[in-house]
């Protein structure tokens, strides 16, 4: 730290940009390799050359179907979900100023989960299951609105919002548990697998469903990122710097809710990524939100992609939900980092 402040400012900025670029490049490489490996592995491993052939010149065959309709959409969805949840988590951790914040904490995932489980328990016979993501999104939206409206008292204080969010999350979690307990076995297990977070049967229409949310919310949050960093110094400081506090908070919160809600709608209760990916990214590029957003997106994508790969191939013939491995990989790695980070000022 002391060494850095001794250098002229523009050197520091250059070094930080270089770090950002290096990190992004590195993680992108890892991501690319992971995609390659994922395409080749499955119930029946496919040689990489054949994968390349099928990607470039697909013919109608079993392999083409498996690669284009089964593996590729699942891989792309894993990347998008990981990115969306990670960015949502990064934004929340910045607004709420608590490193424990994740989309879980302010009740978004619980709202989506409750809506999804309600749908699975009550409506799956009347409405087509294609409406499940819509139901989950509605759940996330309604719970976010509830949190904001209940926490509103001439403005939103982050602490109050978190507290109300926790309360609501507890209540909605209770509702979800109740529904699972009174359902019959297969409905209960289906709901539980959804809650764990699963990318089984991911299809291209899921990808097209999630993509717009990311394409809209991520640029907006990048635009407001510098306001978030100013607010991290304290409300008074931010006001002094001319930051529109309320508006920034609302916009950033909306972005976070949109991203988390959409991701959870398609992948189930996968929210742990939103907690750890920003932490891991912060160790690479620091806590500046503008740098954190792209980095945590890539880190989140990498985690979810590899977790899903493990779930698909490590326990053949079983296909285990990705949520198990996100925490299963992410948590020990997180713990390892904690162990290594002793010189930090935590």
């Amino acid at each position: 730290m002391t060494q850095e402040t001794a250098l002229p400012l523009h050197h520091t900025i250059e070094r930080k940009s270089a770090r950002l670029l290096n990190s992004l490049l590195l993680i992108s490489c890892l991501l690319f390799f992971s995609v390659g490996v994922s395409l080749c592995l499955g119930s029946f491993p496919t040689p990489p050359l054949q994968v390349l052939q099928t990607l470039i010149a697909p013919q109608s065959s079993d392999i083409a179907f498996i690669i284009w309709e089964l593996r590729l959409p699942r891989i792309v969805l894993a990347i998008l979900v990981g990115a969306a949840l990670a960015v949502a988590g990064a934004i929340l951790q910045s607004i709420v100023r608590n490193p424990l914040a994740s989309p879980d904490v302010i009740g978004i995932t619980s709202g989506a989960a409750l809506a999804a489980v309600l749908f699975l328990a009550l409506l799956s016979t009347t409405l087509s299951i294609r409406w499940l993501p819509v139901a989950a999104m509605l759940g996330a939206l309604v719970s976010a609105l509830l949190v904001v409206s209940l926490a509103w008292k001439s403005g939103i204080s982050p602490a109050r919002m978190v507290l109300v969010g926790i309360g609501l999350a507890a209540a909605m979690g209770a509702g979800t548990t109740l529904l699972i307990v009174i359902s019959d076995d297969t409905a209960a297990m289906t709901a539980y697998v959804w809650l764990t977070g699963s990318l089984y049967a991911a299809q291209w229409e899921d990808v097209w469903g999630l993509l717009p949310w990311i394409l809209v919310a991520v640029p907006i949050s990048l635009a407001f990122a510098r306001h978030a960093d100013a607010m991290a110094l304290g409300d008074h400081v931010a006001e002094g710097l001319g930051v529109p506090i309320l508006r920034s908070r609302i916009v950033l919160l909306a972005c976070s809710v949109a991203l988390a809600g959409a991701a959870v709608a398609f992948a189930g209760g996968l929210s742990f990524v939103g907690l750890i990916a920003p932490h891991l990214a912060a160790r690479l590029v620091g806590r500046n939100l503008a740098r954190l957003v792209p980095t945590s997106a890539l880190v989140g994508a990498l985690i979810v992609l590899n977790a899903d790969l493990l779930g698909r191939v490590a326990f053949l013939p079983k296909d285990l939900p990705v949520g198990i491995f996100v925490a299963g990989i992410g948590a020990p790695f997180f713990v390892y980092l904690l162990h290594k980070a002793r010189y930090r000022c935590y």
């Binding site: 608590n98 490193p99 424990l100 904490v105 209940l150 926490a151 008292k153 204080s157 602490a159 109050r160 978190v162 507290l163 109300v164 926790i166 309360g167 609501l168 507890a170 209540a171 979690g173 209770a174 509702g175 548990t177 109740l178 699972i180 307990v181 009174i182 076995d185 209960a188 297990m189 539980y192 697998v193 764990t196 742990f272 907690l275 750890i276 932490h279 326990f315 079983k318 285990l320 939900p321 949520g323 198990i324 491995f325 996100v326 925490a327 299963g328 992410g330 948590a331 020990p332 997180f334 713990v335 904690l338 162990h339 002793r342 010189y343 935590y346």
Partner: protein, 334 residues
């Protein structure tokens, strides 16, 4: 918010009275209404042929006792947890206790032949201890100090890890999923008082120790260095408080399954009414926690009869409105 000692005292007395009332309600109400005279009759002249007597002694009394005990313990554990980490988001679950217990229970049910609650109580307790020790080990800083933030982060990581391993086992094996479902949701029914008796020394010891450490807990709120003024190292106090939390919460989870709301939110409610002084806070937590769980247990029989709602669900449904109200009031005054 009660401001004077007299008001607080009054509050505690009223709370205790309410808790007694809730205890009796829990014992008397249900599918079979049991009147007060029948209750005394069962306790004094137990008649093995009388159905009401049997229901009382095999179902109602054990449930009420367990609910009260677990409610009080979880609430106190939660309050101490929040003091130790100085983080309002902390709950005993943060130390990985719930997750560790869950994992060991799931392993016991799916891989070992330990299927009934009486058997896997010990697995749960062991799991809670293992997880918490792991968290404490991982959160020690360079000089062995326990920073609140590191504890919480380590706890979250360990929790997520154990929960995911449990989910893995449950998703693979539908049979064990069905066996632990009620435990996962929190359950006080179907338990004998004989399950409680071996755990009573643990509960008693931990509660006693917490009573002895109230002043140190108060000092801890003001900062680590304040504690040394009372003649003990901050780290020692944190470890002792941590031990109390682990024993109380671990035993509670082992006994009644995952009841998650109480440890997190009841301390907030108690603090809102009685302030942050642990001499008032801990008894208030015990009373509020016991009362909440007893009310939840009673209400759980009436929400969708004849099915019973898991107690963990009821506590959240009852407690949340009150908690949100308090959150708004309290934050407004800060």
């Amino acid at each position: 918010m009660l401001n004077s000692a007299a008001a607080k005292g009054m509050g505690l007395v009223i709370g205790a009275a309410l808790t007694f009332g809730a205890f009796f309600a829990s014992v008397m109400l249900g599918t079979t209404e049991i009147s007060l005279p029948t209750l005394f009759d069962a306790l004094t002249h137990y008649d093995a042929a009388n159905v009401s007597h049997i229901i009382l002694l095999t179902e109602r009394l054990p449930r009420a006792v367990i609910a009260a005990l677990v409610g009080a313990s979880l609430a106190i554990a939660g309050a101490l947890m929040q003091t130790m980490t100085r983080n309002p988001l902390a709950s005993p679950g943060i130390l990985g206790i719930n997750a560790g217990a869950m994992f060991f229970v799931v392993v016991a049910v799916s891989l070992l032949p330990l299927h009934t609650p009486t058997h896997y109580v010990w697995a749960a307790l062991l799991g809670a201890l293992v997880a918490a020790s792991l968290v404490v080990l991982l959160s020690r800083g360079r000089h062995g100090e326990l920073s609140p933030l590191r504890v919480v982060l380590a706890g979250v990581a360990v929790t997520a890890m154990f929960v995911s391993f449990s989910q893995g086992l449950l998703v693979i094996d539908q049979q064990s999923f069905e066996s632990v479902l009620y435990w996962l949701a929190g359950s006080v029914s179907g338990r004998d008082l004989s399950m409680v008796t071996p755990l009573l020394p643990l509960f008693g010891g931990a509660l006693l120790l917490s009573g002895l450490l109230v002043r140190h807990a108060n000092a801890l709120l003001l900062g680590d260095d304040m504690v040394t003024g009372l003649g003990m190292q901050a780290t020692t106090i944190k470890l002792l408080l941590g031990l109390i939390v682990i024993v109380l919460a671990g035993s509670s989870v082992a006994l009644a399954g995952m009841i998650g709301f109480v440890g997190l939110i009841v301390p907030h409610m108690a603090r809102g009414l009685f302030g942050i002084d642990h001499r008032w806070l801990l008894p208030a937590c015990a009373i509020l926690g016991a009362c909440l769980l007893l009310l939840a247990d009673t209400a759980s029989r009436f929400l969708m009869p004849p099915q019973q709602v898991p107690i963990g669900v009821m506590t959240a449904l009852i407690g949340t409105p009150f908690f949100i109200y308090l959150a708004r009031q309290k934050m407004a005054s800060q």
